[in-house]
Symmetry: C2
Subunit: 343 residues, 2 copies
C-alpha cells in the first residue's frame, strides 16, 4: 500500500505536470501568479501523487518550527481541567497549521535549549509558579510566549490569561447572601501565597459590600479532602460557625462537605458549600457540589490570540461560571449567566 519511496516530492509533481518545481510551489503558496490552465494541470498532478509539502523542508526554509512548546505538568494535584485545556489549545493551534510539542524539563535551561535548537517557535506556560523565572527569561530573549496564569505580582512579563477569581468569588458571596447566608467563610490554601489571593480578595470585597463579616477564614495545608476537612473543623469550632463556605478547590470543598455531615449538619441546608473547577468530584458528593467552572475553551482561544497578536504585556481575565448543585443551591442571576456564559 505504501507509496514506493515514500511521499512524493515537489520535483516529482513538477515532472508529472511538466513544469518547474517553483511553479508547483507557487500553485500552493501564491496561486494568483500562476496561469489558471497550468494551475489546473499542477493541481491534477498534486492530486494524482497525493503530494503534501514536506513540513520539515518547508519550515527549514521559512526559519520556523511550526511547533509550540508546552511543558506537560506533573499532575501534583489532579487538576481536572488541564487536560481539556491542552486539548483545546491543540485544536486552536491547528487552525493555523501549528502543533503543540510536549516536553517535561522544568528549568529555564530546558527552554533555552529548545530555543537554541529552533525546536519550537513559542511557548505556552501553564504550570506557573510564584515569580516564575521563565517569563522573565523568555521576554528577555525575545521568545514569544503566553502564560496561562498570573505569577508575577505587579507587572508580569509577557501576555497572560487567567480566571477572574475575584469577580466570581464576589458573585458567589452575593448569591449565597441571596440564599440568606450571612456568615460566609473562606477556605484557602497554605503555602501558595499568591495563588488564590484574588479569590480571597473577591470574597472579602463581597462581604464588605454587603456589610458581612469577613473574619471566618481558614487555610488548608494541602489540596486534599482531608486538609479541607481539617480546615472546616477549625471553622466549626468557633463560637458562631459559618453558614456558608467558599473553598478554593473541589477536593477542599469535598472535605468541608464531609465534615459538615460528620458533625450532624446538612450540607446545602445548614451550611452551604462551594468548590472550584467543577471537577468530576463535584458530582460524586451526594446532592452534588456547587462549583465554579473555568472557561477553559476561552482560555485556550485567548492564549493563542494573545500569542499571535503579540501586543506587549497584555493580560486578560476571564469570568468563571457558577454551577449550582445541592451543596449550595444558589439561584443564578442574569449577571452570572452573562458573565460566565462560555463554560
Amino acid at each position: 500500500m505504501a507509496r514506493p519511496g515514500g511521499p512524493a516530492t515537489i520535483r516529482q509533481v513538477a515532472l508529472h505536470a511538466g513544469v518547474s518545481r517553483q511553479t508547483v510551489s507557487n500553485v500552493l503558496n501564491a496561486p494568483h501568479r500562476v496561469d489558471p490552465v497550468t494551475r489546473e494541470r499542477v493541481g491534477t498532478a498534486i492530486e494524482a501523487l497525493g503530494y503534501r509539502p514536506n513540513r520539515n523542508a518547508r519550515n527549514l526554509a521559512a526559519r520556523r518550527a511550526g511547533l509550540i512548546g508546552y511543558r506537560v505538568p506533573v499532575q501534583d494535584t489532579p487538576n481536572s481541567f488541564m487536560d481539556r485545556f491542552l486539548h483545546l489549545l491543540t485544536a486552536e493551534f491547528e487552525r493555523s497549521g501549528r502543533h503543540v510539542m510536549l516536553f517535561t524539563g522544568a528549568g529555564v535551561d530546558v527552554y533555552a535549549d529548545l530555543v537554541a535548537q529552533r525546536a519550537v517557535d513559542a511557548f505556552v506556560l501553564a504550570d506557573t509558579v510564584e515569580h516564575d523565572p521563565r517569563h522573565r527569561w523568555l521576554a528577555d530573549h525575545d521568545v514569544p510566549f503566553v502564560s496561562f496564569g498570573r505569577t508575577w505580582s505587579g507587572c508580569q512579563p509577557g501576555p497572560w490569561v487567567d480566571l477572574d477569581g475575584a469577580a466570581v468569588c464576589h458573585r458567589l458571596v452575593d448569591r449565597l447572601h441571596d440564599l440568606g447566608r450571612s456568615r460566609i467563610a473562606f477556605v484557602g490554601r497554605r503555602g501558595v501565597p499568591g495563588r488564590f489571593l484574588d479569590r480571597l480578595r473577591g470574597w472579602k470585597a463581597g462581604c464588605t459590600a454587603l456589610d458581612l463579616p469577613s473574619d471566618r477564614l481558614a487555610f488548608a495545608e494541602a489540596d486534599t479532602v482531608e486538609a479541607g476537612g481539617a480546615a472546616m473543623r477549625d471553622l466549626l469550632d468557633s463560637e458562631v460557625p459559618p453558614d456558608a463556605v467558599i473553598a478554593v478547590s473541589d477536593p477542599l470543598a469535598v472535605g468541608v462537605h464531609r465534615e459538615v455531615r460528620r458533625q450532624g449538619l446538612r450540607p446545602g441546608t445548614d451550611v452551604a458549600v462551594t468548590g472550584f473547577d467543577d471537577s468530576p468530584m463535584a458530582s460524586v458528593v451526594d446532592g452534588g457540589l456547587t462549583s465554579v467552572r473555568q472557561p477553559v475553551e476561552r482560555f485556550a482561544r485567548t492564549a493563542v490570540d494573545l500569542l499571535d497578536s503579540a501586543n506587549g504585556d497584555r493580560g486578560v481575565l476571564l469570568p468563571g461560571r457558577i454551577v449550582s448543585r445541592g451543596s449550595a443551591p444558589v439561584r443564578l442571576t442574569e449577571q452570572d449567566v452573562n458573565e460566565g456564559e462560555s463554560g
Copy 2:
C-alpha cells in the same frame, strides 16, 4: 540578551574554531574520527557560541521528524490516568531525543496527512475504539506505531500494551473470598462490548475456580456515578444480594458505594466495593474506595520499547495493583505485591 541573528550555525562555529563545517559535525556525531586536539578546540568554540544544531535542518537531512504523533483524546470520561500517561510517555521519548506532537483529528485521513507531510515518525494510539481502523491503515502503510489498549479481537495489527484486566479481576475475587465473601457481583459497562471483556472473564474465572456462582452481573448505561447506582439497585433487588461488587471503573464504584449506603448497608462491611483506575474519586468516598491502580509508568516505558524494537505484532499485558481501602479492606498477598509492584 538575545544573540544577534539568533542561534549560531555550524558554519559560524567552524569559522570560530578554524576548521571546516564537517569537522564540527563530526565532533558532535562521530567524535572518534576527530583528532583530540581539534576536538577540544571545536568544543570550546561550541561552548563559546552556545551552539546547538538546528533540529529542523538535522531532521531534514536524516529524513525524519523527531516527533511522535499523539492524538489528544477528548476527555469523554475523566480518565484520570491519561494525563499521567502522556507525561510519562513524553519523558520516555525524551530519553532518545524525540518529542510528542499533539493533534486532534480523529479520522484515518488525519493520520495519512501527517504521514504525507512527514510531520511525525510514528504514532502512539491511546484513545482506541472497537475495531479501530487506524491500526490496520498504519500497519498497511508501514507507519510505525504502538497501541495503548487492545481493540481488535483476534489478531491485532501492530504492537500494543494493555492492562491484564483478567488477571487482576481474578485476584480481586481471590482477595474478596479471603475476606469471606461468596456472592461476588460484577458491574460492567453497556455499549462498549469488547472493552472490559477480559475483566469480566477474569471475574468469572476467579469465581469458577472457587466454586462461587458468577451470575450476579449488571451493566451500567454510562460511566457515571448515577449509572453505577442504578446497576447496583438491580443487583440488590435480587433474592440473595451480593456481598461484594467489582465495578469496572471508579465512577461506577462510587455509585455502587452510595447505593449501598442508601439502602442502609455498610460499605466494606456488609458489601465490599472495588473500582478501577484509582482516580482522585477513590479517596473522596468516606473510608476510601478500594481500586485497581494502572501501571501507567510501565505502560509508557513498554510502549516506547515496543515501538523501537519493532518486532512485529507483539502484545504485552501488564499487571494492575490492588489498592486496598475501606470500601473493601482486602489483605494483599505476596503475589499481589509481586505482580503489581510497579504502580
